[in-house]
Homo-oligomer: 432 residues x 2
C-alpha cells in the first residue's frame, strides 16, 4: 500500500479544508427536533413518524450536496457522488440517525450529517474523486423497536438468518416488521429481504465517524481516535415465570416471585462481569419488566434483557455461560420457571483494515490533529460493514464520555475536526 | 346485645333461603367480559370505558332488584331497600368491581353481585327489613390507576387528606383524577370531595362478602370464614437516580446503575420481611420500572412500589424502617441518589365489631354451614368502613387461595353459601 505522491503534495487543495461549522451545528439541532421526547432528550424510533421526517431531512441534504439518492427495501439510504472511474468499487461512509428513548443528539448523527458536510468540504475544495464516494444512512442501528441492533448493516452484510427472522419479527405492540416498514414507505414489493444484501466488492473501503461514547479522548485532550477494533457484543433475553398471587394473602413461604428471581439475576450479571477481572468486560441489565406490574400483585412473570461485551470473545462467552448457570440456579432455588434464556446475538469482534487505518492516520497527521489508536467498546454499523469491506472508524471526543442520555455532547470544534479528517480520509481512499 | 327471639324462630322464613345459582353464575361471567384483557384475564381500571359499562350493568341489576340507586361524586354507587323504619340508620353491604391488570373475575365481584342476589333472596323469602338495607359498590378499591387503594371507602370514611390530595392527583398518563372522573360522568359540579364523606351514624353495621384470597378455607374444607381483623397494609414508592450511559462504553467502575440499586432493594424487602420471623409479615415489590428501559442503556432511573402488611402494626413499621435503611445504604454504596422514599399509606389494622361477628356466626350456624374465625391478610373497603360503622367480613373458599390472577376461582356452591349467610346476616342486623 503506497500513497501516490501526486495527490498529496504540499500544494494539495486539502491544506485548506474548511467546515461550515455554523450550518453543521444548525443541522444537528434541527435533526434533534424530530423526536418523541421533549428536548434535550431525543427519542427517534425506527419507522415512526419522527423517523420518517428525519429521513426526509437527510435525503434533502444529500440532494442539496449534489448526491444521487436511493433507498433499499428496509430504508438504508445511499447518497452517491460519482467518481471519475465510476466502474470501480466505491468508498463509503455513514452512520445512523435512530435514537433510543431519552438519549442525545450526537450518537450516529455526527457520522451522517458529518459525512454530508465532508462531501461538501471536498466539493468546495475543488476535489474530484477517482472512486465514487457514497454516504450510507443505516436503518435501525439501535435495537429499540424490534430488539435487533444494526438491522440495516447486518442485512447489507448478507445476514440470511436476519432476512429470515424478520419475516416473523414483531414489536412490543405486536406490529410486524413488514407492517411497520410499509407504514414508513419501505418493503413495498418484496417479502424477500435478501435483495438488500450488498453485491460482493461493492465497496473498496468503509469508514464511520462517531462520538467516542467513552471518556478517553476528552480526558487526554486528543482530537481524533483511530479505531483499530470493535468490542464483541452479545444480548440475551430471559423470562422467569411463577404463580403470582395477591400481595397480602399469599404468605412468604408459599411464594415463587418471578420479580425477585429477576432482581437476583440482574445482580448476578454484575457479579460475573466483575469476576472476569478485566476492565474490558461489561454487562448491563437495561430492561427489567414485571407482570402484571401492580403494587398488590406478586410478579408472576419477569423479563430481562442483558447486554454483555468484551474485546475478548472467549471471555465474554464465559460470562454468558455463568449468567445462564445463575439463571438456572435462581429458578430452581425460587421454584420459578426459566421459560426463556435466549441469546439474541453473539457477534464476533471486528478489526479495522490496515488500508483504512493508514488513510485515517495520515489524514490526521496532515491536518496536524492529535490522534491515538483505540478500541470501540460500543458496537456500530462498522462491525457488520467489516464483513463485506475493509473498515475503519474515526472517534471524536464527547463530554465526559456520556452517551445514550440527554447530557450527550460534542463540541462543534471537535466535530469539525472529525469532519476534516473524514473528508481527507475519503479523498485518500478514493484515489486508490 | 340480645337477639330478639321472635324473628329467628325455627319457623322463620329464612330456613328456606334459596339462591338462584344459575343466574348468579351468568352475571359473574357477563361482568367479566367488561375487560381490557382477553379472557380468562380481567383488567378493569377506574373510569375507563369498561369500568363505566360494568357500573351500568350493576346499576341495572340493582334497579331490577327494586333498589333505589344513587351515585356520589366519585362514583360510589348505592342501592337502597327502604326498611319499615327508614329513619333508622341502615345496614350496608358491598364490595368493588374494579380489577387490577390481568386478574380474575371473583375478587370484589362476589361481594357486589352476591349482595344483589342476597337482597333478591330476602325478597323472595317474603322478608321485610326493619332498618333499610343498602348495597354499596365502592369506587377503586384497587390502587391501579391513581396509586390509591380503597379510594371510595376512604372518602366515605371522611379522609380529609385524600379529598385534598385528589385535587392534584394524576395517573401515569398525566390525566388528573378530576378529568378522569368527569370522563366517566362523575365529579361534575364539585371540586370539593368532602361532599362524599358519610354523615355520622349513616350505617348501624357494614358487612362485606369476599373470596378468601388465601388457601385456608379450601384446605380445611370449611364453607365460611368469619373475619375478626384485617391486616394493616402500607405502601411505599421509591426512586433511585444515577448517571445512566451507554451499556458498551461506560466501564463497570464508572457506573452508578439505578436498576441494580432497585434489584438490591427488592431483595432487601424480602430479607427484612423474613427476618421478622413472623408468618404474618409479608412484603412485595409488585412494580419495578427502569428508565430509559433500553437493552443498551445503563438505567439512569428506577422506580419501585413496595407493599408490606402485617396484623401487628408495630412489627410492620419496623420492617418499613429497615427497608428505608437499606435504601439509603444501597444508594450510598452504589453512588446513586435515593430521590424518593415515600410512604403512600400506612393504615392501622381494623377489628370486626362484636355485633356483626355475632350476626355472621349465628347465620352460618343456623344455615348449618361450617365456619371458622380468621384474619384477612388482604385489605378491603371494610378496613375503612370500620372507621364509621361496626364492621364484619364473610370469606368463602377460593381455588388454592389464588387471587389477582386469571386462575382465581370460587365454585358457585361456595358463592351461594356465602350469599345465604350474607342474606341472613343482613336480615339479623336489620332487625336491631
Ligand atoms: Mn447508540
Ligand atoms: Mn451510534
Ligand atoms: Mn383485589
Ligand atoms: Mn377485593
Amino acid at each position: 500500500f503506497q500513497e501516490p505522491s501526486s495527490s498529496f503534495s504540499s500544494s494539495s487543495p486539502f491544506s485548506s479544508l474548511s467546515v461550515d461549522t455554523q450550518n453543521l451545528r444548525k443541522q444537528i439541532d434541527e435533526l434533534s427536533t424530530f423526536s418523541d421526547a421533549p428536548a434535550p432528550s431525543v427519542t427517534r424510533i425506527l419507522y415512526t413518524d419522527k423517523d420518517v421526517l428525519a429521513r426526509r431531512y437527510i435525503k434533502n441534504l444529500m440532494g442539496l450536496a449534489g448526491l444521487s439518492v436511493r433507498e433499499d427495501a428496509v430504508g438504508n439510504i445511499f447518497g452517491r457522488w460519482d467518481g471519475n472511474e465510476p466502474e470501480l468499487s466505491a468508498v463509503a461512509t455513514g452512520s445512523h440517525i435512530d435514537a433510543i428513548p431519552y438519549s442525545g443528539k450526537y450518537d450516529g448523527v455526527v457520522g451522517v450529517l458529518g459525512a454530508i458536510e465532508a462531501i461538501n468540504v471536498l466539493k468546495r475544495s475543488g476535489f474530484k474523486p477517482k472512486r465514487s464516494l457514497e454516504i450510507i444512512l443505516f436503518t435501525s442501528e439501535e435495537p429499540t423497536r424490534f430488539g435487533i441492533s444494526c438491522l440495516g448493516s447486518r442485512l447489507l452484510a448478507g445476514s440470511e438468518a436476519l432476512a429470515e427472522a424478520l419475516k416473523t419479527t414483531v414489536d412490543a405492540q405486536n406490529i410486524s416488521f413488514f407492517e411497520a416498514a410499509k407504514s414508513a414507505g419501505y418493503a413495498k414489493d418484496h417479502d424477500d429481504l435478501s435483495i438488500v444484501f450488498l453485491k460482493e466488492g461493492s465497496y473498496s473501503a468503509f469508514v464511520e465517524l462517531h462520538i467516542e461514547q467513552g471518556p478517553i479522548l476528552e480526558e487526554e485532550g486528543i482530537s481524533i481516535g483511530i479505531v483499530t477494533a470493535i468490542a464483541a457484543p452479545a444480548s440475551i433475553k430471559v423470562d422467569f415465570e411463577g404463580d403470582g398471587g395477591h400481595a397480602g394473602a399469599v404468605l412468604m413461604p408459599s411464594r415463587n416471585d418471578a420479580g425477585l428471581a429477576a432482581a437476583e439475576l440482574a445482580l448476578a450479571v454484575e457479579k460475573h462481569v466483575l469476576d472476569s477481572g478485566s476492565i474490558d468486560t461489561v454487562g448491563t441489565v437495561g430492561i427489567l419488566e414485571l407482570h402484571p406490574g401492580a403494587i398488590n400483585s406478586i410478579p408472576s412473570k419477569s423479563h430481562l434483557e442483558i447486554d454483555t461485551r468484551d474485546i475478548d470473545q472467549e471471555r465474554r462467552n464465559d460470562v454468558i455461560e455463568k449468567i445462564f448457570q445463575s439463571a438456572e440456579m435462581i429458578a430452581s432455588k425460587r421454584g420459578v420457571r426459566l421459560s426463556e434464556f435466549r441469546i439474541i446475538n453473539q457477534d464476533p469482534p471486528a478489526l479495522s483494515h490496515k488500508l483504512v487505518i493508514d488513510a485515517m492516520q495520515s489524514a490526521a497527521k496532515e491536518l496536524n490533529l492529535t490522534h491515538k489508536s483505540m478500541i470501540s467498546r460500543a458496537y456500530h454499523d462498522s462491525l457488520f460493514m467489516a464483513r463485506v469491506s475493509p473498515m475503519g472508524m474515526l472517534f471524536i471526543p464527547c463530554y465526559k464520555g456520556y452517551s445514550h442520555k440527554p447530557e450527550e455532547y460534542a463540541s462543534i470544534k471537535d466535530i469539525a475536526n472529525g469532519v476534516k479528517v473524514l473528508a481527507l480520509t475519503l479523498a485518500k481512499l478514493s484515489s486508490f
